[in-house]
């Protein structure tokens, strides 16, 4: 997995390439926590280049969203393919996160 981080106005966009699973989830967690520590409050995770996500990856997203909310911020998601959309629907996490079809649409309303 590799992470590409960019800043678009006040939103930190983190693009995940590859799989988000038990062996690498800490990397995403640390990166988001570092951005939050540096003052970021709006974080958008872009899954356009992501393969599959396991329960550990989903768990990290839940925990980071909770942390951001505690700080008065928000973590949102964009660009889920059909498989990832199914995964979020199966676990009902699609009701917990604000999910946009595209990065651009997410940025417009963030």
């Amino acid at each position: 997995m590799s992470l590409t981080v960019s800043h678009q106005r006040e939103v930190v966009v983190i693009e995940i390439e590859g799989q988000l699973i038990v062996s690498n989830r800490q990397e995403l967690k640390q990166r988001v926590l570092d951005e939050a520590e540096a003052g970021a409050r709006k974080i958008l995770v872009d899954f356009g280049k992501t393969g599959y996500i396991d329960s550990s990856g989903l768990g990290v997203l839940v925990s980071l969203a909770k942390r951001l909310r505690e700080l008065g911020g928000d973590l949102r998601l964009a660009n889920l393919n059909d498989d990832l959309q199914t995964l979020f629907e199966l676990t009902k996490l699609d009701t917990l996160f604000q999910i946009a079809d595209t990065r651009e649409r997410a940025l417009e309303t963030f």
Partner: protein, 139 residues
């Protein structure tokens, strides 16, 4: 020596090995003409969960321990067995519903649920170690 059509592997009990093993099994499933969705969602996610459980819970990430993975293709289905050196667990007792209001924001507790949602059958039994067997019918 594994029988023809059977993949039989052993890996050290370390989560860094999961992705490579999953890729090997997915390639075999592709050779056996499993559907695209089964190759990109059902097999990789369910097998990752089973391997992760075996390494982190079954073997407790124990040094020197191993996980055995067996994939057998028969009658239009794949039977995946993941065996660890732990004492086993009760599948029904350990599976909770992560979609309820009180569980939705929990960080853990989705692994067994996803395995069961993505496979046609999930079983746990004792072989020479603790075995989780996942069965998926080709569609």
């Amino acid at each position: 020596m594994a029988a023809p059509g059977v993949l039989d592997l052993r890996i050290p009990s370390d989560v860094q090995h999961i992705e490579g093993i999953v890729a090997q099994v997915v390639r075999r499933c592709a050779e056996h003409r499993f559907a695209g969705r089964q190759l990109t969602l059902n097999v990789p996610v369910a097998l990752t969960e089973a391997l992760s459980n075996a390494i982190l819970r079954g073997n407790g990430e124990g040094g020197g321990k191993e996980v055995r993975i067996r994939a057998e293709f028969v009658d239009g289905q794949v039977v995946l067995e993941v065996e660890d050196e732990g004492g086993g667990f009760d599948l029904a007792e350990c599976t909770s519903d992560p979609t309820t209001a009180e569980n939705l924001e929990r960080e853990d507790g989705r692994g067994l649920y996803l395995m069961q949602a993505l496979m046609d059958r999930v079983e746990r039994f004792r072989g020479s170690g603790n075995v989780v067997r996942l069965t998926l019918i080709r569609r």
